[in-house]
Subunit: 226 residues, 2 copies
DNA sequence: GCTTGTTTTAACATTACCTTAACTTTCTGT
DNA sequence: ACAGAAAGTTAAGGTAATGTTAAAACAAGC
């Protein structure tokens, strides 16, 4: 059975690269649209509303990072994934790119297999995360995804990975009650075999850190933050 | 949360003023080094490579303007900002100062708040102007991109390329946790096949040089500087 | 080709984290 | 109020991730 083809907008001022990528992506069953400069790219993205934008950083006129900012600013819903193409030497433009909201990078020269693998991984992750634009602040607690830290009462602290992920999950839908099985499935994956009560222990740790009142128990069901 | 401390070299032959300024600047979280004459100032600037030099114009021996010229002449890369202190009456010397390459002036008597405001504005402008928002200084460690050297506790040393790049990457976003895979992708490129644990070894080397506390491990995720 | 310095790999040691399991407390339905 | 179930709590042990070291592979300069 055939899956719905995802659309990709491709932006590069180099026609050879455009052609090369278009060919490879079409082979992989994506619908490909192309632009050769930042201005056209923005217009095209707004028209097509693609799942993903693959864009060169170096372009005449509006460059990739600027275009990225404009796309992020203009479209409020359904942000496309944006992957930037950089030359190997431009390492530090990647930093700027991350700041501007790029989802990933591919360095030239481009390996088609790697490119496709990255794209598929990104699309899959996006499907999982879907609508949950994850909140970063709740009550007195604020999480910083980049630094992997949590600020509580003005102190910035490090917490173990599982605790962080659990907190992140709760933050993503404040008030929602997560069943233990759901939590395990989301954070541990469906294939791992871990006892449900493990969740309780992590909950305990979080309550130890941030007080008992933040995480609420719904007996017979699961946990939520309130 | 801790900001990166910028260094300031302070030059004045009046000990009261030195003390007064040192106190105020330290309050504002700058690292302050002092000299009481032009000769020492030049040596100190070359050793510390500060972000900013705050220097009196009127000094015995080499005066402020002469010292300024010598600093500008000696240091080819990474010119520090230079702010001159003048008595209100010496307005004419400001002309000479600008000619010699001063970035700003502060007239005595000094208002600490005004001084700090000016300094911060200058540093910010400098960061923007250089277009490299990339930090060069963190804790006691400072990197010199042109010379490929690192200054630590006042000693300028050479470190291997990979270590330097790694440090540079961390400096570019203090606090951010870089995953091993990200680091490999950024510094080695997507096409090279190098084991993730290679990163650990380079981290080890850096910690050996600069102490264990600078680079922080986030288990299951990656490394950051703090 | 040798020498020197750097990078990578690989092996072993250490540690922080995760999980389990056992015991205690609280809740819920009867 | 009671029994049973669910959740709280704690501590110990296992495990995967990282620390650490040394040596092999590699590169640069002489």
């Amino acid at each position: 059975m055939k899956k719905t083809a995802k659309s990709i907008v491709l932006v590069d001022d180099d026609h050879d690269i455009l052609e090369f990528l278009t060919y490879n992506l079409r082979q992989a069953d994506y619908k490909v649209y192309t632009a050769t400069n930042g201005e056209d790219a923005i217009a095209l993205v707004n028209k097509i509303e693609p799942s993903l934008v693959l864009m060169d950083i170096m372009m005449p006129g509006i460059d990739g990072i600027e275009a990225l900012r404009l796309i992020r600013a203009s479209r409020i819903n359904e942000q496309p994934l944006i992957v930037l193409l950089t030359a190997r030497s431009e390492e530090y433009s990647q930093i700027a790119g991350f700041d501007a909201g790029a989802d990933d990078f591919i360095t030239k020269p481009i390996r088609p297999r790697l490119l496709l693998a990255k794209i598929e991984a990104l699309l899959r992750r996006k499907a999982v995360r879907n609508n949950n634009e994850i909140q970063t602040e709740f009550n007195d607690v604020k999480i910083n995804r980049e630094k992997f830290t949590v600020t509580f009462n003005g102190n910035e602290i490090q917490i173990p990975k599982k605790e962080f992920e659990l907190l992140e999950l709760f933050f993503s839908r404040p008030g929602k009650v997560f069943k233990r099985q759901q939590i395990l499935s989301l954070l541990w994956g469906d294939d791992t075999i871990v006892g449900e009560r493990t969740v309780d222990v992590h909950i305990r740790k979080l309550r130890e850190r941030f007080g008992d009142k933040m995480i609420h128990t719904v007996k017979g069901v699961g946990y939520s933050i309130t």
